[in-house]
Symmetry: C2
Subunit: 394 residues, 2 copies
């Protein structure tokens, strides 16, 4: 089985034309461009000798005969999306399935999941397909304009389609959407896990005062408390983290937010992501301890409000091994194992099938942006790594 | 000359009734309550044998015969003000002037400046009187509702009035509006200088990124840059400051201010106040150097935007000495020399007359608030210190 790079690139550019806008693409789930592209994709699958099926959630399958691998990703985009994102993985899946069939190889099927980008929910199509979200609940999700998933999917009628039991494993190729591979001048990433995340919102309440008449020693300045906390957080995280761990204070509001008033209150988010559930828990303990120390040492009141947690998703060891072998075949010395910092359809599929993922670089780490781009040689390296991994697992 | 505490307290409560609301007072410049209170004040001056005059800016004088001291403050309030604030200094001035006249002592005059609280400008009445702001320019200042100073002052017609040349020196008694005296359980503060202030707005521009896919080592996180700056600022200021120096980061805005996005930009104010012009300048140099170091070490771009500076105002040494003797007489062992962290009419008057100031404690440091309060014994200590200082200087 030998995937054909020229045919793959030609199909990738053909898909790009649906919703093209400048260098980018506007093709949100169930938009006119998305529906047209899904019909085109089904026709390409049929032309390749696969059986095209659309399920009730709008997921498009190209099915080989017999139980085998499922490859895919999603072809919907952000409201202002890049041309690769999930489209890359869908067209690479089409090419590998087609090449295997041409070569009389093992059965390999393809899928484009729907609404990965969250016009309605988040990873909606794969969430329904993996059985985690009942269709009647998905139907009640609405986009920013009030259109429901139920109303939107009526424009692309489908029913039935294969369940997870029809397949042995799932592989997904995707752009990295971060700068790691591009910075390292590497061509392929083998995903070991999709990271989990935790977040809380903290409020520090000090004493609002006149910025001229209140001596430093008598202040309870909430911004100073925040700076104290942020410094302690880095020190507390240092012994816990790996080079892949990330943490972010992304949102911060000061009250009353006036130059001549000692700030009485600061509210901010703390978010951290890692592939290890244990590390995520250890970091939460450390972060809460930092807040407690700031409160004890300054007299500022510290409260933790809204909090959420998303567990990490480990990739299947056999899939990781096959992806590593595929990466070695396609890009020897220019690939690495790495966690995925972003969520993918693979997160949902991993609930029901052994799953693996491959990345190719994003130039400058740019994604969800018209400027998103990947070198052509790297796109092809990703295709060939996927093909080799699929051959090994079949 | 012996000021009469009972008469002083009675007059202070009489003035409180104009615009009283709960424990506080609503008596902004040229409001109905303010105009009524200024007419009442003029009548009290006349009753004390002084000559009442209202000048074009709405400043009310009670004039003794012959060149001598001027004592006073302001009797307008914030939109929601405390009952003491400047009213204390006006009524103390009335009582000392009255007592001196009754005792056949030296000529002592009184004043209530207009619009100290800035309904229209800032310290407007004393700014016009000291010749720093021409009346025709003041006339164009407008309040938040669009009413001009010109239109407002038509309701309290006045013209002429004495110029600074009619007086030898100026003394002002005021509440501290900060927590220093109350915390130290002292009764009187002798002001050595009214602090100056400097402020700039800084913008740190890093790189906005996905909070999941961007490794820590590749981030230019503007909030992290801010935390770095704030920590360096405290270290850089430490060898420069005195216990009276204050500095505040009171306003801070983060862009795009979302928990899952590495912040690309932070804009914040840095303000510092001190009685020494040299120290203010040294601190500015240190603050700008901290920004430069953060920029050099992180690659984050640092820019300084809007900046302003207000020079410190030293009090006259003879006035300070007399106030110190007065404080010793009225509150031996329970007073201190201190800078004023807030602006006062004395800032303007000091341009044209040797000037001194006395403080009494504000309970909890609370001011510009209905809850503002001072113990009665401390009010009387302030009156007696002012009387003794005035006697010594006359």
């Amino acid at each position: 089985m030998q995937p054909n790079p020229e045919r793959f690139l030609a199909d990738l550019h053909a898909l790009r034309a649906f919703g093209a806008q400048g260098k980018g693409v506007v093709r949100p789930a169930f938009s006119e461009a998305d529906i047209a592209s899904r019909r085109w994709l089904a026709a390409q699958a049929e032309a390749a000798g696969l059986t095209a099926q659309v399920d009730a959630a709008g997921n498009v399958f190209g099915l080989a005969e017999g139980k085998g691998l499922l490859l895919g990703s999603h072809s919907d985009t952000q409201p202002e999306g890049g041309w690769l994102d999930g489209a890359l993985g869908v067209i690479a899946a089409l090419e590998v399935a087609r090449a295997s069939r041409e070569a009389g190889g093992p059965p390999i099927s393809m899928v484009s999941f729907q609404d990965e980008e969250g016009r309605f929910g988040a990873l909606t199509g794969s969430e329904v397909w993996s059985g985690h979200l009942p269709l009647h609940e998905a139907d009640q999700l609405a986009d920013a304009g009030g259109t429901t998933f139920a109303a939107a999917r009526a424009a692309l009628p489908g029913e039935g389609g294969p369940g997870p039991g029809a397949f042995t494993r799932y592989l997904e190729l995707h752009i990295e959407q971060g700068p790691v591979l591009d910075t390292a001048e590497e061509q392929v990433g083998v995903v070991t896990a999709i990271v989990g995340a935790r977040q809380f919102t903290a409020t520090l309440t000090g004493q609002q005062n006149h910025a001229g008449t209140t001596p430093m020693a008598l202040r309870q300045d909430a911004v100073r408390g925040f700076v104290d906390f942020a410094g302690r957080l880095d020190k507390a995280f240092a012994p816990l983290v790996t080079p892949h761990t990330v943490w972010t204070i992304g949102a911060l509001d000061v009250h009353p937010n006036a130059a001549s008033i000692v700030p009485g209150r600061v509210r901010f988010s703390v978010q951290w992501r890692d592939a290890s559930a244990e590390r995520l828990a250890d970091m939460e303990e450390a972060a809460r301890e930092c807040l407690a120390v700031v409160a004890a040492e300054t007299g500022i009141r510290a409260e933790v409000g809204e909090a959420w947690a998303l567990a990490p998703t480990a990739m299947d060891p056999a899939c990781v091994a096959a992806c590593a072998d595929g990466a070695t075949a396609a890009a020897a010395g220019k690939w690495r194992r790495m966690p995925s910092g972003a969520l993918h359809d693979a997160t949902n599929v991993a609930r029901v099938l052994p799953t693996g993922m491959l990345f190719v670089p994003s130039i400058g780490g740019v994604s969800h942006n018209f400027e998103e781009e990947t070198r052509e040689a790297d796109l092809v390296a990703g295709l060939m790594a996927l093909g080799a991994a699929a051959a090994q697992l079949s």
